[in-house]
């Protein structure tokens, strides 16, 4: 039995009569996480994880939102529904659907690497696994995040010593808070002040409201010029090339994203540095996660869909794809400009 099908509005669970991350307005939407391509405005009712309440409220004010604690189970139309940590960003969840002894899990976006700002990915057993594949090619193998954070810190330190502002691009929701927390954990905050683009302040506050200890980050526009020279400024990728950057003068710029694993992606943006720090599973993690579900059927939703389906099929899985409208076709160009996908 098909517990999830694709409808024009989005991924739909027929026996439960609800949608998961719909791209067009529907009556009942289960939301895996608060990134713009998964949580869109205009739905009648929203159901999401309790951990995502603060960020969802900040991004979609005024919605009718019910939440579930991770692992808490509700029954709706004979369908057992529960949300489980996906490790992607604060509040991100896998949706587990159980009906007549069959279990489907919809992953949303996920990663297996540790992240101080969210609960770790929980492996779930299921018969069918609906998975993302943003970085579903063997070239995407992340280095140890601790090493990447160390690289970010040394880059910042060298710039500060040369009296040069460090501008680090990363997605406003998820990546920025993770970097701030990782730098704090690495004891790197003594290098200089931590600042950010105004667009990120509200989300940092939402994180703190949800109990995540995001260190103090100042509004970059409020720092004195000479203090700025030693600062690390977190900025959304959409700020690149805007007049807002001019205030930093001779700054060094970098981008923290899984796309930075590929030299061409960094060189195309003419960035000084690229730090491969991703909130998505890399190739080995995608494969490990899929194996661990014990599922015999796998449906791929977005990212490197074609190669992943073929790869899985060759390995004996019953694999196919849902054509979704989640951000990116696995192409670096699509995501940063729109700032919706936390690559």
């Amino acid at each position: 039995m098909e517990l999830v099908v694709r409808r024009p509005e989005g991924l739909y669970c027929p026996p439960g009569d609800f949608f998961i991350d719909p791209w067009r307005p529907v009556e009942r939407a289960v939301i895996t996480h608060a990134h713009g391509d998964h949580a869109r405005p205009g739905n009648g009712h929203y159901l999401a994880s309790e951990a995502s309440r603060a960020v969802l409220a900040a991004r979609l004010p005024g919605i009718r939102l019910d939440t579930l604690a991770y692992g808490e189970r509700v029954v709706h139309g004979g369908v057992g529904l529960s949300l489980h940590p996906a490790g992607h960003v604060l509040g991100s969840a896998q949706v587990r659907i159980e009906h007549q002894g069959i279990v489907w899990v919809v992953s949303g976006d996920y990663k297996l690497a540790p992240d101080p700002t969210c609960a770790p990915f929980e492996p779930l057993r299921c018969t069918t696994f609906v998975t993302e594949s943003t970085f579903g090619l063997p070239v995407y193998r992340w280095p140890d995040p601790a090493r990447v954070v160390g690289d970010i810190a040394s880059w910042w330190r060298r710039n500060a010593e040369a009296n040069r502002t460090s501008v680090l691009y990363g997605y406003a929701f998820g990546k920025a808070q993770r970097i701030a927390c990782e730098l704090a954990a690495a004891d790197a905050l003594g290098i200089g002040p931590l600042a950010c683009h105004g667009a990120m302040l509200a989300l940092c506050a939402a994180y703190r409201a949800a109990g995540v200890p995001v260190p103090e980050i100042q509004h970059a526009s409020e720092l004195a010029r000479d203090t700025l020279r030693r600062a690390l400024v977190l900025a959304p990728p959409s700020a690149a090339g805007t007049p807002w950057l001019r205030r930093f003068g001779d700054a060094s710029d970098a981008f923290a994203s899984g796309w930075m694993q590929i030299r061409g992606a960094r060189r195309r943006r003419a960035l000084d540095r690229g730090f491969p720090l991703s909130d998505h599973a890399d190739w080995p993690a995608l494969n490990a996660a899929i194996e661990a579900t014990g599922a015999t059927r796998v449906v791929v939703t977005h990212g490197q869909v074609v190669p992943m389906v073929r790869w899985l099929a060759e390995r004996g899985f019953d694999a196919d794809a849902f054509a979704t409208e989640f951000a990116d076709e696995g192409e670096p160009e699509a995501s940063p400009a729109t700032d919706v996908d936390a690559a």
Partner: protein
């Protein structure tokens, strides 16, 4: 290799020239001379003969990575660079090595050339096990022969000059010939680059650094009185210097490759010259007294071994336009008018047919020159080169003494019909396009592809076109997509010839995108007839 890998990373990770220069100086100052000798070779553009056939490199890598072939190809498409793809997909290293760049090159990489494939595969596997990501990436580059990094030869020259406190021009001269394919650089070579200046720098068969003309974009009248200029046709051939010293002849192309072997006719020219002579000029294909098309010359360029049949079928000549050295004396500081005069006398003396003098074109005013310039296409030249009569011979593309005054390129408005992903910086963007014109020969007008071009758009435009390509894709064939015709571009090219190998029946030379014609509907793009009218 680790020190060189760090240098590569430093150069790769900054877009600032100042930082790149600092990284180069740091490396040259600390690296062992034999390693530094190789670093200069590669950074200045040297490419040894491909040590490992790419097919073999690929198949061994696929095997070691444990990937299906199609998945490796997907990876290559996403990354856009073969050596980088290798570095990403190979399993992590198990040990490390202290071998420096020179040791890697002489003991490991160069001996791979010509090795039986089974032995080669064993070596590759062993080397990969010792290299981290950066090391593998570089090793892949060294093995496939291609090596490009974001520094210019000029920047390397600056770094060496700064380090050794030498005049940059002197280092430039010493670097000439350094990057010849056959050259195996040694520690002594590196020391010689940095040695204090001595009186006797001009030894061996080294050419002088080429003086290059800049493209004239301002109105020609801004150059002042036409009488102060010597005007020549701009030959469509290979820029070269003919060096005759100590009884030996060398022919150097502008890329500073030694091409003597490829043009035996020119060796005989050199052999007829007095000792201590250096000529600057153009190698062109000839038909009787006329200069033949570049296409004819192209049949000679790729050939390393030249048969007497080939030299008979596609003979070449050296069209001389400057005399840089005579009787062992460097004439470059003398005014051009004097050099030309001595050159004319020399050419007349030698009286050897493959040596010709590039004639001066005489007119009283720029207006008259402009009229003469219109003959360029029928003469098979690209326009004029304007040289100030009283100027010395410079270095590189500097000063304002030599200008290219080219004829305006031909252009048509064409429709984008296929797009292919780019490489390197443009990997995963659709940046290589095929363009078509309307062909009504079969009744209903259809789009007929005639040219491929991949340059001419700004980065923003490239990204925009990429999006449209994705949205309007009709079919995918591997890395290529056919798209619905919605985009019109003005395509410029330097020449057009009949061609039976092209579907359109014509082949264009140096096609490039002049601009995006957002204003032009697809139906109003140019036709095959327009193209054919340019043939003549």
């Amino acid at each position: 290799m680790e020190a060189f890998a760090r240098l590569y990373a430093d150069l790769d990770e900054t877009t600032s020239t100042r930082d790149k220069l600092a990284a180069l100086v740091r490396y040259f100052a600390s690296a062992p001379a034999d390693d530094a000798a190789w670093a200069v070779y590669f950074l200045a553009g040297g490419r040894p003969r491909q040590p490992v056939p790419p097919k073999l490199l690929r198949s061994v890598a696929i095997d070691v990575a444990g990937l299906p072939e199609w998945l490796f190809d997907e990876c290559h498409l996403a990354v856009g660079d073969f050596a980088e793809t290798l570095a990403h997909v190979l399993p992590p290293p198990v040990s490390r090595t202290d071998a420096g760049l020179a040791q890697w090159m002489t003991e490991r990489v160069l001996p791979l050339r010509g090795m039986p494939s089974a032995a080669l595969a064993v070596r590759l596997r062993a080397y990969w096990q010792e290299l981290d990501w950066q090391g593998r990436f570089l090793f892949g580059k060294l093995c496939s022969g291609g090596f490009r990094v974001g520094v210019s030869r000029l920047l390397v020259t600056r770094a060496l000059a700064q380090m050794a406190q030498l005049d940059r021009k002197l280092v430039t001269e010493r670097l000439v010939g350094y990057t010849v394919t056959e050259h195996v650089p040694t520690a002594d070579d590196f020391r010689a680059l940095l040695a204090p200046a001595s009186g006797d720098e001009r030894s061996g068969g080294r050419p002088y650094p080429f003086f290059l003309a800049q493209t004239l974009t301002a109105p020609v009248e801004t150059l002042g009185d036409a009488g102060a200029w010597l005007v020549e046709w701009k030959w469509d051939g290979i820029r070269a210097q003919l060096v005759r010293r100590k009884g030996v002849t060398h022919v150097w192309s502008r890329g500073e490759d030694l091409v003597t072997e490829r043009f035996p006719e020119l060796r005989t020219v050199g052999d007829a010259l007095p000792a201590g002579t250096v000529l600057d000029g153009e190698i062109v294909a000839v038909r009787g007294d006329d200069v033949a098309s570049f296409a004819t010359l192209a049949t000679r360029i790729g050939r390393k071994r030249v048969s007497s049949r080939l030299t008979a079928e596609s003979p070449v000549a050296f069209v001389a336009y400057d005399l840089l050295e005579s009787g062992g004396e460097d004439l470059r500081a003398r005014p051009l008018a004097e050099r030309r005069e001595r050159l004319a006398a020399l050419v007349a003396d030698v009286g050897h047919s493959p040596l010709r003098l590039s004639p001066l074109v005489h007119a009283a005013t720029w207006r008259e020159y402009a009229t003469l310039r219109d003959e360029s296409r029928t003469r098979g030249v690209e326009g004029f080169v304007l040289k100030r009569a009283d100027a010395p011979y410079g270095v590189g593309r500097t000063g304002n003494a030599w200008w290219k005054w080219k004829i305006d390129p031909m252009s048509v408005d064409a429709v984008l019909v296929y797009a292919q992903r780019g490489h390197g910086r443009r990997a995963s963007l659709y940046t290589d396009y095929t363009f078509a014109v309307w062909d009504a020969r079969g009744g209903e007008p259809a789009l007929l592809p005639f040219a491929k071009a991949y340059s001419g758009l700004t980065d923003d435009e490239t990204v925009e076109v990429d999006r449209i390509v994705r949205r309007t894709t009709r079919e995918k064939f591997g890395p290529v997509r056919s798209v619905a015709p919605t985009l019109v571009f003005e395509i410029a090219f330097e020449g057009i010839q009949r061609s039976s190998r092209h579907k359109a029946g014509v082949a264009v030379r140096f096609p490039r995108i002049l601009r995006w014609r957002r204003d032009k509907p697809v139906a109003e793009a140019d036709t095959l007839e327009t193209l054919q009218a340019l043939l003549r």
